[in-house]
Structures are given as structure tokens and as C-alpha cells.
Amino acid sequence: MKRRDVLSAGAGLAMLALVRPASATSQEMAAAIAAFTGGAAPKEGRVKFDIAQLIDNGNAVPVTISVDSPMSAADHVSAIGIFNERNPQTDVAVFTLGPRAGKAEVSSRIRLATSQRLIAVARMSDGSYWSKSVDVIVTLAACIEGEAP
């Protein structure tokens, strides 16, 4: 093998390593999203994911998801799914909405085991999917602590 080949192979590897984190969605999260969308890849946009960037307590994290939609009978959000990357389970919740919701906004309180990426996916009545992902930092983790003996 020539020195030139070794160098070019090394550059290729470095490129791979650089490209990887951009699509850091873990396999399991990707599988959970695919199960929700039926294999369709959601597009970025139209969804607003409201969550604190730095979370003190992962046991109860307020989240609000809102989707830009007129919520009419012809054009509305039919479901909103929230998925995470590094909790023991990738599913957080799936909310079912309809034209009678009036406003495509849902809020809840969730648990986060560690600093990770979250993604909200909205299913529209026309069958398209829109998403928004956020990265959060969690200082006190949920799910791990047991009861005091």
C-alpha cells in the first residue's frame, strides 16, 4: 500500500466521523419515529417545541408542542408524537387531535433520564409529517433513583 492511499483512506474516515453526529438520532429512535409515520421521513418545520434548554430536575420537565396549522376540517393536525433518544424507552407520548381541537397545542410534563435529543413529530390530515428536534441538558436524572431503604 502506498503512503498516498493510506492518507486518502484516513481522510475518508475523518469525514465519516465528522458527518456522523449530524444525524445523531439513535437507531431505536429512528425506528420508533418510522413506526409512528409508517416509514415516511418527517420534514423539519411547522412544529414548535417549547422546553427549557437546561433542566435542573429530569423528573418533571414541562413541554409544550404547538403546530402551525389552521385546524380546519380539511387541514388539521391529526396526531403529535414525542420521542427521545436516551431514556430506557424511546416513546414519550402520542396525542390524538382533530379539527375540533381548535388549536394545535399540547402541553405535558415528562421525564428525562439524561442529556439528550428530543423530537416532536406532527401528522397532518393530508398525510405529511413535520418535526422539530431539540437538544437538552439534564442535571438531575429521572428513572434511576430508587426508593430510600
Binding site: 416513546d91 414519550v92 382533530g98 375540533r100 397545542e105 421525564r111 428513572c143 430508587g146 426508593e147 431503604p149
Partner: protein
Amino acid sequence: MARALIHIPATAKRGEVIEIRALIGHPMETGYRPGADGKIVPRDIIRKFVCRYNGEQVFGAELHQAISANPYIGFFTLATESGTLEFVWEGDNGFSQTEKMALTVSA
């Protein structure tokens, strides 16, 4: 019977979008946590929440372990006519609770 707190406006104008906030007392035990004896505490969560407006479903939710204890859900609905809003939570170990709230809608 778990304690449930539901906030809805008592009255609304027809066509107004009203906010509904529902909270219920429930441990939402994940099934990943060790108990006082060191053994894993079995899973005990609410899996399903439904809101019906005069019998018609206007909102539903499928919950998982990642929802905090005492699950809170806030959502919106369009006030169409006077009637009752029915809230149903269902979960593990046969958990089921129904709450009803009256809403008066003026023209």
C-alpha cells in the same frame, strides 16, 4: 379513586377555543426503579387518556413511562354547544377513572 384536577372555563362563547388542563394523582411507576427491598418495582402507569365532548372524542393521548408522576395534560378544544366534557384515564392494574365537567356555551 385518584384525585383529579380539571380546569375548564365554566362558560364560553360559541366558536371560542377553550383551554383544558387535566391532572390526575398517579405514581406512573416506570418499572425500571428499584424499591426499598432492592427489587424492581413493577410497572404501573396510565396508558390512555381520552376527552369526549358530548360523547364525541375531541382529544386522546397514549402515555408511556416517560410521562411524569401525576400526569398533566393541557390541550384546547372548540366550544360548539353546551354540554358535558368527559375525561377518562385508563392504565395498568385495571386503573380506570372518569370525570365529568359541565360547560355552558352562549351564542
